[in-house]
């Protein structure tokens, strides 16, 4: 789950970068950039959750 979270972080960044490099309009770029950030937040949530599970297992 942690690895998946890290991959989602990188994937979200890839979406943001692609939006800036490939899309011409500001609105299009902003929309895709927000989508990329949403993917990153999903990845962050997965990593946090994996650490919570690990801590509970140790406890």
């Amino acid at each position: 789950m942690k690895l998946a979270g890290l991959l989602l972080l990188v994937a979200g960044w890839g979406i943001v970068m692609s939006a800036v490099a490939l899309l011409p309009s500001l609105m299009g770029r902003a929309g895709f950039a927000l989508a990329g950030v949403a993917v990153e937040l999903l990845g962050l949530a997965l990593i946090v959750n994996s650490h919570l599970v690990l801590s509970a297992g140790k406890g």
Binding site: L9, V16, V20, L26, V37, L44
Partner: protein, 415 residues
């Protein structure tokens, strides 16, 4: 003035840790500043560079992407006089030390000294210079405006992203890798309060940090933000107002939530205000400076509780909330409240700041986590269980910080 910020953070980190790790915390602060300075001079600056310097560049669709600098190692060929480049090098040596002190706060009471130094070498030699090149060295983030018409490009005059958020995300990685201190969480997952051993040190550190941040924000705004030297007064006013509003807001929030102001949270609020002021201190009106600080103070008071109680992150000094979350808010404030956003179009500047923040989360966090995870595989970062109960002072240094004091028995209560 800038080294005073390092002094301030070192005092805050030490005061918020346990008495039995106080000498270790202070020695670690000295060691990471030393390692950071040396590693940065050897290889860090060659990766960071300066605008217009040698760099590796590639093109996509006719637009250039300046990826990493290619300056010589050991500052070879650089004249260390009063030239702008030499001033940048000097400021960066202090700045990378400041960034390296941030994770120390999160790893307090359990992070081995040797591992601290190696982790700092990774931060000062790769993570910090790479991102700093993108923002301050003429890299692709700084050129977003010129290349793609995205606002004025990513704007960060005082190191809100390069120093604070990079340090804060490294602190988050360290807490994940080290895990919580013994006794911090019950088997049911309820967190126990482990208060800092010396609040006076913490509050004294806040005053030192204030002086340091005045220098950091002023020099950063001139050298990296393109601000006129006459703006130094505005920078100082905004830095002070932001810290003041943030501390007062943190005091008000803790007064409402807990019935009285919490000294350590107010201190963290003060620091969060300083951090949030970094990015746009030269471009904010004083009223906006107060607003930036007030939001930072409220954010940090809630974020520390959220991370500790709900997300299982044992961050003894609150560094993640102060530096990562406070820093991200400061970057948002540049787009929404500063003259930069107003001049270049608020939407475009929002996008530029958003791309910078996405890069911090999507590139810097995985990079710093991965590097520290690899380090932990080859060189264990956390002290052993016996060492944690003895305290880092006795375990690693052989003597305590306060040998004449009787150790309270509640220091050894197990959860």
């Amino acid at each position: 003035m800038v080294p005073m910020a390092c002094v301030g953070l070192a005092l805050v980190n030490t005061g918020l840790g346990r008495a039995r790790s106080a000498a270790h915390a202070m020695l670690s602060s000295l060691c990471v500043c030393s390692v950071a300075a040396i590693v940065y001079v050897i290889i860090g600056f060659s990766f960071q560079g300066t605008p217009g310097g040698q760099a590796h560049v590639f093109a996509i669709g006719g637009k250039t992407w300046n990826w990493i600098a290619a300056e010589p190692f050991f500052l070879r060929g650089l004249r260390l006089d009063f030239s702008p480049v030499s001033l940048i090098v000097l400021l960066q040596i202090f700045s990378v030390g400041l960034a390296s002190l941030i994770p120390l706060s999160s790893g307090a009471d359990r992070w081995r000294l040797g591992a601290t130094c190696v982790s700092t070498a990774l931060l000062a030699g790769l993570t910090y210079p790479l991102f700093a090149h993108w923002v301050w060295g003429g890299g692709w983030l700084a050129q977003l405006g010129a290349n793609y018409g995205v606002g004025s490009g990513f704007v960060d005059g005082g190191g809100c992203s390069t120093i604070q958020v990079v340090g804060g995300l490294t602190a988050l990685s360290i807490t994940w890798i080290l895990g919580p201190r013994p006794g911090k969480y019950t088997p049911e997952g309820t967190s126990a309060a482990i208060p800092g051993h010396n609040v006076v040190l913490v509050l004294l550190g806040c005053f030192f940090a204030w002086i340091g941040w005045l220098g950091l924000n002023s020099s950063g705004a001139i050298l990296f933000g393109g601000a006129e030297p006459s703006r130094v007064i505005l920078v100082a006013v905004n830095t002070t107002l932001s810290a003041a509003a943030s501390a007062l807001m943190a005091a008000a929030v803790t007064r409402i939530r807990f019935g009285g102001p919490d000294a350590s949270l107010v201190a963290n609020g003060w620091l969060a205000g300083l951090v949030a002021s970094c990015a746009g201190a030269a471009f904010l009106k004083p009223a906006a400076g107060i607003l930036v600080g007030a939001v930072a103070g409220a954010l940090v008071a809630f974020a520390i509780d959220l991370l500790e109680s709900r997300l299982g992150v044992d961050d003894p000094g609150g560094a993640i909330s102060v530096h990562a979350i406070g820093g991200l808010w400061g970057l948002c404030a540049v787009a929404s409240l500063s003259e930069v956003g107003a001049q270049s179009g608020s939407r475009g500047q929002w996008l530029a700041q958003l791309v910078g923040m996405a890069t911090l989360l999507g590139f810097v966090l995985p990079l710093t986590y991965g590097l520290n995870w690899l380090l932990n595989r080859v060189y264990r970062q956390r002290v052993d269980v016996e060492g944690e109960w003895r305290g880092m002072d006795l375990q690693e240094l052989g003597a305590g910080a306060y040998p004449e004091f009787v150790v309270h028995s509640d220091d050894f209560i197990q959860g």
